[in-house]
Symmetry: C2
């Protein structure tokens, strides 16, 4: 019944005995306002509990102070991966500092995806953070083409028709460090359970593994590479294949901890001891990795920093400097976490 109406800038102005323009100036901190006036306005704002209306501001400034974090299907399924959790935390922290809002968008079906593209290019957000792990996602190019400020999480897709900013974690280097560790431990028949071939992370980790092998002058026969789907079960399956094709292997680099867990199980079932018979290194440094038996040596990724850098790059460069800004690439280093498995 009361239909309370929130105080407006105009009410603040009247209460402080000044004009609307002055109140606006105080709120936006800009321009010169005499100290006395400023103080009077501040007091009026406090007394009234005034909060600026974002919609009205957005209408005239054409900025929404909102950025979207888009997680494409099927990555949404992977939401529970610590990878995304870290990114969300990092993004959220930086955006809060910048006074920006975080809109979380997940697209499920194809139709959703289409509509999401319309929505995001419709000017409802100031910029888009896109975590798209698959190389065939059309969204980044589409948004970049529409002039929407975009920052990618992960290496950009094959042919970046529209150059975009991105933040990546050095998958090649991380994988290489894992495999180098195995080489340094004297292993010579080193297999890998790689990730899916259509994900940049999968490709890059496989490449890093191979580079480390080549660097040490070790052969890289095809039977020592099997692809998994980053899941526990996929890792177990891949390991069974490996054991069949190359029973004499003495080490495994798994491109994800989840897969490493599956590998570990299969090895145990096959009676191979870890690390005595087969050394194992994973990737991701998930919570579980610290508690396996034996504890898993793995590659830690700075996911929270990645999210933070993405948000920073979007706010300070992509949005601030506009579409003419020189595309920037930030690549973050990984850290090898040595435990008992390899």
């Amino acid at each position: 019944m009361g239909e309370e109406r929130r105080p407006t800038l105009e009410m603040v102005a009247r209460r402080a005995g000044v004009g609307r323009g002055t109140v606006s100036r105080v709120i936006n901190g800009s321009s010169r306002v005499s100290p006395d006036t400023r103080e009077a306005v501040r007091a009026a704002i406090a007394e009234l509990g005034y909060v600026p209306n974002r919609a009205a501001r957005a209408l005239v400034t054409r900025r929404t102070d909102t950025v979207a974090l888009v997680v494409s299907e099927p990555e949404a399924r992977l939401f529970d991966q610590p990878f995304f959790a870290g990114i969300v935390r990092g993004v959220s922290a930086v955006l809060t500092d910048r006074g920006l809002q975080l809109l979380l968008a997940t697209a499920r079906t194809g139709g959703d995806h289409e509509r999401l593209g319309d929505y995001l290019s419709g000017g409802h957000v100031d910029g888009v953070l896109l975590v798209s792990l698959h190389t065939d996602d059309p969204l980044p190019d589409r948004l970049a083409g529409a002039g929407v400020p975009v920052v990618l999480g992960g290496r950009p897709l094959y042919p970046p028709r529209h150059p975009v900013h991105y933040v990546d974690i050095d998958n090649v280097g991380g994988a290489a460090s894992a495999t180098r560790r195995l080489i340094g431990a004297g292993r010579r028949r080193i297999a890998t359970v790689a990730g899916p071939a259509d994900m940049a992370a999968g490709q890059d980790r496989l490449r890093g593994h191979r580079e480390a092998l080549a660097e040490a002058g070790l052969p890289d026969p095809p039977e020592l590479t099997v692809h998994g789907d980053f899941s526990h079960e996929g890792g177990a399956r891949a390991m069974r294949e490996l054991l069949e094709a190359a029973p004499d292997l003495d080490a495994v680099f798994a491109a994800s901890d989840d897969m490493a867990l599956g590998v570990l199980r299969t090895l145990r079932e096959a009676g191979r001891r870890v690390p005595e018979d087969v050394a194992l290194v994973g990737y991701d440094d998930t919570a579980a990795a610290a508690h396996t038996d034996p504890p898993l040596t793995t590659v830690h990724q700075p996911t929270e920093r990645m999210g933070g850098e993405m948000a920073r790059l979007l706010a300070d460069t992509a949005i601030a400097e506009g579409p003419d800004a020189k595309p920037q690439a930030v690549v973050l280093d990984t850290r090898l976490v040595v435990r008992a498995s390899g």
Copy 2:
């Protein structure tokens, strides 16, 4: 330089040879518009690629079509728990269907928390979904008091001064089913590694455990209850305490899978076989639970459904019916997933 301007409703009206009001009517699907006119407007919209300006609409309707999902500190830390992942998925799906946006808000420090409260009660969102696991969080009461539509995830805090809608998962029942399972397997000295006493989930699961014990006429001596912090390490520590205080226990109900993992490790280190010597049941049905050795019997929670119900309740009741709506409570059932551990 081009400073492209997006088409406005007015431009659509001119192009279709109609008035603004008519275009608005077509867009909002309401009122009566003749089929011909409607078609002409539709065509003009398509040709121009017109997308309504949300800010302008929000300014006049006083609705933002945005709801916030708030995850209070320190739960943000728990973001990687599948619990939150499921909720986000469920919420997101329902909101998309309703044409609502999802604003993700996390508050870190106390100051943030304060500002967040201001923000959320400032009319920038149509409603708030609040996942607050600690019983002393002041936010729900504050928002409800400010007349902001709120739906809680989890049982409301102690004295709900302002009655609120909530969606909970039946922690009491879930825990009871876990303990009943142990009783049914013939166990008599059943310990529990409970959750923190200041979290509703912790309290409720302990209560369920006790009810099951009482129901079977089993004693519930104090040495068989130890509190953990829901973490792996906390579970391991708690189990060591239990082993010392009650070496003759023959079963353990752990109030989270993470803790169950720690329990499992401690039991193995102590030379107890699971489930032969000590049966174990966890809670959460995390991905890891299926792959432990032995696989963990645990309680599955419908997290995605919980998120969906929260969003539905917010959109269809809390927002639609306003503050006078009768507070609703939805309690979702759990499901016992029987594996080998207990």
